[in-house]
Structure formats: structure tokens, C-alpha cells
Subunit: 219 residues, 2 copies
């Protein structure tokens, strides 16, 4: 096994080598994401396959990741970053603008970060439990943050903590279902995607209509 | 390869053999479902593994299924049957009783048909596209039937077809998310399951509150 069949080790000091190493690392991550866009789940990917798709020899893989598990958890980290950004942006929009803007903001992120969202959708239900739990944990954090946002709204300020949580989880579930349906829409048909987005916007508006009529138990 | 290492062929006429064949077929289906309860996706299961779990030799597999793909599609059929029954029961409850009864009815089905629902949740997002499409198709049919139900309700009778569809898909998405969260709840902890069910019930009640306040465009 040659030590020099690919980009240099990340811990070497020469800048050129470092950035080449970085590039290979990214190439491996992107190769895995591309392979997952089709019908495969992460657990059925082989190290050899990922290396081949990235255009490097299998031994080069080990300079960047200890094993496939480490690559998988790195992808969870990366894609969770994307999910967090997308939900933060949607949340900011819903605070400052309309719910429609929030949905549109999420939709833009799903479109530009297509591979990341494919990975999340696949692994949230189909993946190994370590990944599933990492994703689920991130979503739970988000539900809690959104519940806090809601508690500052006039329509929901008197709700119990439990009911704010119930509302927040419903809103997040709608956003997740929307992202999933966008991913399933016939590839890149803007019409189909728009219909999904429009439906989600209506669903959020419908729920907003209910808020003033809800009474939390004992309040 | 022996022809007689397992239960008889399904097309033999002796009743004993036929039912033994039937039993092996079911054993293979159940073996696959059990293997999928863990972290595996169907596409990563091998024929050998399924046969071993079912306690038969690999050649016996071929008397019942042409290949793993045929077994997979049989499982989609079977589990879709379960899903249809569960949604039908929930729909009947929501017509005759409260929304809470509808959720409770679905929850009972998820509990008793745990393996079937694990399979559906896994394959709906993580599976091969043929299976994903089969499940998605079944859900779409259901959304349409539910939209028809809704059109007969007083609160929604003046809604546009598009808006009835929007409402129905939201209700079904909530039921699906509920089933998924029940499956993810710490194994068989009734408390965690109950919390999920209670939240879903509130979400449906909240949406029902909004219905009388919604105006379809142009109506």
C-alpha cells in the first residue's frame, strides 16, 4: 500500500498538501452523498464504492476517516448544519414576515442543498439508529426553540408549555413532510415542487387560524 | 441441491404439503420483517440471511419467491394491507366518533402490527424507489378518500377540491408522523407512546378548530 497515492495527510504543514487533503476529504463526503441520492441507504454503501466514486484508492480513505461509521457521523454533522440553517432561516422569516415566506425560505434551502436533504430524509427513518438518533435529537432541539418563539406570540402567550410544544412539533412535522415531498417530486419539475410548497403554506395558514381558538387545559 | 429439504411446493395438491409450503412462505416473510426491525434496510438484506432467520435452506427460498425483489414487493403488499386497514379504521372512527378515537384506533394498529409499521416507515424514505412509490401511491389514494369524506362535513363542505386535499394530506401526515414517533419511542414504554398519542390527538383537535374559519379562494 503506497502512502503517497493520493493527497497528503491533513496534519502535514505544507499548505498545498493540507488543502489537497481537505479536498479529498470533501470529495469522499460528496461521493457518499451522490451515491445515496439513488436507492441506496448508507448502511449498504461500501468503503470501496465511495473511494471509487471520489476517484481515490481505498487506502486514501483511511487518511481521512477511521471507517465508514466515522464518515457517516461526519455526514450527519454536515447535514445537520444545513438543516439547522434552513430551520433558523424559516424561523426568522416566520417572526418577521409571513408563514408563506418561512415555507419559501425552507424550499430554497431544500433546492440548493438537495443532496443534504436527501441524506437526512433517508437516514431519519431508514438509517442506522445512531444516525437516526442524531437527526431526531436535532429536530427535538428545534421544536423546543420554536415553542419558545411561539410563547412570545400574542395568540399563544397563554398556552401551556405542553401545548406550545405540541404546536411546534406539528409545524416542524409539516416542514419535514414538505421537504420530503419536494425530494420525491419528479426530479426538478418546478411545477410539482411549487404545488408542494403552496400546500404547505396553506397548511401553516390554516393552523395559524386555529391558534386564537385553542384553550390550554386549566387556563 | 435437494428438492426435498423443506416444505413441499405450493402447487402440489396434498393439503398437508400445501399448508406447509404456506407456512414456509410466511416464515420467510416474517424473518425478513424481523431482520428489518433493527438497523437494516431491505436492500441490505441477503437471501441467505433471510433463509437462515426463517430456519430453511437457501434453495427453499426459491420455491416461494423468484428473488429478493419479489419478497420485497410481497412485503409491500402485505404491509399496505395493514396500513389500509389502520387508516380505514381511523377514518371510520373520525366519522362516527371523535378525532381522539381515530388516533387511538391508529395507535392500536401500530402497536399490534409493530413489524409491519416498522417496515413501512423504513421503506417509505429509506427504501428502493419501487417500494417507496408503492407506499406513496397507497398514501395518495388515502388522502383522496379522506378528502372526499371531508367534503361531506358541514365545516368543510364549501371548500375547494384543492383545499380539501390540502387538509386531508395534513391529517394523514400527522397520523404518519405519529406512527413513526411511536416506533421510535423507547421500546414498548407505554408512557412515551401515550405522550405521542396525546400530542397527535391535540394536533387533530387544533386543526378541527381552524376549519370553520378557513375560506377557500373565490368562495
Amino acid at each position: 500500500m503506497s502512502e503517497h497515492d493520493d493527497a497528503g495527510r491533513g496534519d502535514e504543514s505544507a499548505d498545498g498538501r493540507e488543502s489537497r487533503g481537505q479536498r479529498t476529504r470533501l470529495a469522499l463526503q460528496n461521493a457518499a452523498l451522490r451515491l445515496l441520492e439513488g436507492d441506496k441507504s448508507f448502511s449498504s454503501l461500501s468503503l470501496r464504492e465511495v473511494a471509487r466514486e471520489a476517484g481515490v484508492v481505498p487506502t486514501a480513505f483511511y487518511r481521512h476517516f477511521a471507517d465508514m461509521k466515522e464518515l457517516g457521523l461526519t455526514l450527519v454533522d454536515e447535514t445537520m448544519h444545513t438543516l439547522r440553517d434552513a430551520l433558523q432561516a424559516a424561523r426568522a422569516q416566520s417572526r418577521e414576515n409571513t408563514l408563506g415566506d418561512a415555507v419559501a425560505s425552507l424550499a430554497r434551502q431544500v433546492q440548493t442543498q438537495h443532496l443534504h436533504f436527501c441524506f437526512i430524509a433517508r437516514e431519519l427513518y431508514g438509517g442506522r439508529s445512531a444516525m437516526r438518533q442524531a437527526i431526531r435529537h436535532e429536530i427535538d432541539l428545534f421544536v423546543r426553540e420554536l415553542a419558545l418563539d411561539l410563547s412570545r406570540h400574542k395568540e399563544t402567550e397563554n398556552w401551556s408549555a405542553e401545548d406550545l410544544q405540541m404546536m411546534a412539533s406539528m409545524l416542524i412535522n409539516i416542514l419535514i413532510a414538505t421537504a420530503e415531498q419536494m425530494l420525491e417530486a419528479p426530479t426538478r419539475r418546478p411545477q410539482a415542487e411549487n404545488a408542494v410548497i403552496e400546500t404547505a403554506e396553506k397548511q401553516l395558514r390554516l393552523i395559524a387560524l386555529a391558534a386564537p381558538h385553542w384553550k390550554s387545559a386549566g387556563r
